[in-house]
Subunit: 357 residues, 4 copies
């Protein structure tokens, strides 16, 4: 009952589960690529599924997950239902031998996420997490700049994702928005570098019953810091991430399509004492680089399209996706620790020492 790796020659039959906010985007992208053949859109509310497909589409709507999973031509599913249902839906799909892509977060809890990872690994099925931002040309390039050593050692990472957002009924702003930034951090950190602890502060100014503004501070094992600001109450939209390194510093402004990435050869250098002799005065050791800034040419490509291609690649090769279930699990661990910190007045909470990597 296990799905075979699809051959590159024929498209992978796929079904999308969930016709809410994100499902239509998956529908559109599965339809646009020849790697997949979209067969179903499934939603408990079949009217919503039909409305998303529109009257011109040949894709079938269903409100019965079992019916969809029983379709032998469906080799893969994409789950875009509320996080609380991820475990049930994805588990059913894995047990039916289907490859599974899950919208972020991987599951409602770390434990639920682990059950999915284990199930997929036991069955040799692809489990992928739709960390969409990781597939933007900008983040792919940041990863390249960090992993290639061009950035040097990471000094700090600062991410701001604020907007007038929909106040969610079931989750706070941290669970709503921080998965984006945490998945990006997980994606770009070089091998061997990982968070060791997290502290979170938040506020619920409007009396929504949950944090609408939150700040997360991650300590990395190198001594560097990563910091996130997520906010539902800001009338201005800001999506800026600064990745500061010893050789270069990258500024990613996702709202500036003509210059999303700026790579600065500008910074502070501190020479080590060994080089200069122990008697040299401290203030002699600091120097400033004031080089050019380069904004690399990036191809404009929809991230979701690249993500869908990566899903196809993972299925057909059997190799883990770039953002596999374990990546989703690492994000969940930090979110849960951050929630604990929020409940304890911002106490720094230790993370497992990278054993998930």
């Amino acid at each position: 009952m296990t799905a075979q790796p699809a051959t590159p020659d024929e498209p992978v039959g796929v079904a999308v589960i969930g016709a809410g906010y994100w499902g239509p985007n998956l529908v559109r992208n599965f339809m646009a690529t020849s790697s997949f053949r979209l067969r179903w859109l499934c939603d408990l509310d079949i009217g919503r599924a039909r409305s998303v497909l529109g009257e011109y589409s040949k894709v079938r709507a269903s409100d019965d997950l079992a019916e969809v999973l029983a379709d032998e031509e469906v080799q893969a599913v994409a789950v875009a239902t509320p996080a609380g249902t991820h475990l049930r839906v994805a588990l059913a799909a894995l047990q039916a031998g289907k490859h599974v892509l899950v919208e972020k977060p991987l599951a409602a809890t770390y434990d639920e996420g682990r059950r999915l990872v284990e199930e997929a690994e036991r069955r040799g099925l692809t489990l992928m997490c739709d960390h969409t931002y990781c597939y933007t040309p900008a983040v792919l390039r940041i990863r390249e700049l960090v992993h290639s050593g061009e950035l040097g050692e990471l000094h700090f990472l600062d991410s701001v994702r604020i907007n007038l957002g929909l106040v969610q009924k079931d989750i706070d702003v941290m669970w709503d928005l921080a998965p984006h930034d945490l998945s990006i951090i997980d994606f770009v950190l070089p091998p061997g570098v990982h968070p060791t602890a997290v502290a979170a502060h938040g506020a619920d100014g409007i009396g929504a019953g949950r944090a609408c503004v939150a700040y997360l501070t991650l300590q990395l094992n190198t001594g560097a810091v990563a910091h996130l600001h997520v906010n539902w109450l800001s009338p201005v939209k800001i999506r800026t991430t600064i990745v500061g390194g010893s050789k270069r510093t990258i500024v990613w402004d996702d709202l500036n399509p003509s210059q999303r990435l700026s790579v600065f050869d500008r910074g502070v250098d501190v020479a080590t004492r060994e080089e200069l002799g122990a008697d040299q005065r401290r203030d002699m050791l600091i120097s400033y680089r004031s080089g050019d800034m380069v904004a690399p040419a990036l191809t404009e490509r929809e991230a979701l399209r690249t993500m869908v291609d990566e899903y196809a690649r993972a299925i057909t090769t059997g190799a883990p996706a770039l953002t596999d279930g374990r990546a989703g699990l690492r994000v969940l661990e930090i979110l849960e620790a951050a929630s604990r910190s929020l409940g304890q007045g911002g106490r720094m909470i230790k993370l497992s020492e990278g054993h998930l990597a």
Copy 2:
């Protein structure tokens, strides 16, 4: 030996102590206003004082503080020496019966600052802290919008002040930059609202021996949060403060001279249960305002000029300056608590409950 309130008719004789980074700006502004008559520029390095004055100036240079304080025509001094010397210099000036303006921070420690405040109050002399940003047209307007009730209740305040800055030898980035933001917060918070605790996180990526990146979280007595990001290592300069309220949200971008302030009638409203009946579902209570944004016309005026005028006003009327010694003291208390937090892994440190106000 106590200086008399100067009459409005004649200018106040003033001496600037310290010809380093900030002194020349004070010199220029004291010379530009008819409220003051600049008599001395004093620096231990008299060559530096002479060089600041230039060869065309009639103002006298000195390297002897006693000589300057002995000048009976000097009624006021402005201290722009390193923070570690503020106590000594300012105390000498107060004891010589001079009014005193001190560059931020008021002193190197809270205790030193308190000695200055007490000395000035005992002698009935003006003690003012040069919290320059408070006198920008933008901050004055923010204060007005908050105090008038136009902003509504404060929900959050977020301030980012990052730049490729000079790594200081004696103080970390928090003591270097956060006084600006803390003094602004102190200045704009409405009566009755004040910080109750502070937590700080930082990192020293470059091995400078002190934090070069720092994040401060202030809890306010109303449940709202204020957050600061100060950073010496950012190749991009950002100076943006968002003041989120229940009726309006203000965005202050100090680097956008053509639109420093944007006042948004945009936000999230949550109705109270009482209004709607207890059986109403939670998600019904939230609504969104999507009104216009107004960028108020601001006069361009150098903040330092306005500050100097306020110093003259305080001296001549005997009333406390808008940013008096006690304002400087409140900033110092937070800085010291933040330093303690930094040393304790970001623990939340309680502040005295507003008895300083």
Copy 3:
């Protein structure tokens, strides 16, 4: 054989002719609205039509215009073929009794455009020009501000539309890009105000055989000026229009989604001599307003969707569309005059005195 006004209750059967650059956008929008029922996508290259529709669509592809026009359930067509074919295709459609929407420009020449307008008027059919930008929320609001008198008298209009664009094989940059701006100007000018002459300058720096950079200056009958800069060679994309009036000035920055419109209460006022007495000196008459700027909240709505709705409205009511064939004709007249000017070293070419309005 003339199409009847469709009843509001049933959708208008529509066919899109042309599956090139613009056709797919029309296809998507006709499918998204319940006012239309998309029946065909027609292209000489049926493979291209099929590829645009994709494998999931029930809409029929055709490479035979006659077949499409013979379909009695097709009451309306949308022509998105090259400009040189507009006359032939649109005329055939009108003669088959179909309502016609034509992509800009209305036709390859003014004379061809006039034949279409006359044919449509003779048959009582809707002829509409797809001046898409006129249906953006920003331009609709500009029109409102100008027509309501809030702007005051128009002083100048300056439009910049530059980008690294595709160098067209058959037309110069003016014919490629200026129709956008000319249609916007035609749309927002208040009743009674119209261009009376046009001059054009251009350059073909790259040796493309046609102007790649062009500047158009339009004299208006009120003495005001409108100026356009269109450019295929700019590595930066700028789309900014300033509409300067006696009471307000509007800046439209189409690339700033968070603040597309800025309405300034800022300007220069000149009092008339009558008011002040003839002996008053000239320089006394000028005063400056320095009021606030308001960025009105705009709903984000795809312009093409609004345009398609307007097409439906015109068809069902029989009233002319906001951008009807005559609007397309007025744009063509200016383009032809501008081409003449370009060929004559920038000579100012007179336009017909508004008899087209």
Copy 4:
């Protein structure tokens, strides 16, 4: 009676004539450099001169030009009086054997300017035009990029200088603002490239009696075009110049201090037919480069300070200044031709064929 080249060892005695808008800037910069010794500030209104100097200055004020010119220690003057007086004042100074720096424009007319140039050349004195913008780090770098060949062949130059400006009593917006852009163009054009004709369009929307908005189009001898937009009525300030070349395109945004210059390796390439064979189709010849953008690090230095240094260099070496009287004359020729064009409905007016260079 002719001034000797000053030796590098001793400062050049200088007097500033005119204490209006620009004079104080010259005063400040002459005082800041050791190359000059400022001796006088002269203005018909001696009160204004005294007020500019302030009560602390040792520099002498005068309302008597003859007195200043009679001072033998004055070797050089800087003229910052209204343009209509430049001839009289500068001529008197030259005749007194002084080197002369003149604020832009060089004179009120081309003929007056030529008299100054001839007088200075006859006497072997330095005549320099204060084309301040040419001495900004940005323009100096643009010149370098163009002259070094890095830009390739110039395709177009587009300059926008708009603002809510002071409506001048005696000159139109073209004479007020375009000298800046024309002097920059003169400064950066590579050897052998020069304007051959100019056309100007304008409008006086507010009834000020002179053009408040103007557009200038310059034809260059290479077929390239340069275009200027100057405007007193724009509530937004824009100062952007695009210099498009065959290899690079430079965008200079003078209002973006953190990124004034952006150098794009992005553009359209057209291969010549010879290379490809005459039978190759036209559309095969065009290709697009989409390389990175580099924002070169620029030192922040006040342009006026660099200009003053250049004045000192010209005086002490006897070599012409970078912006000498002939440069000022070339700007005047274009301004006069543009005025003629404005009066003739935008007719293209020929310029002398570069014999001024």
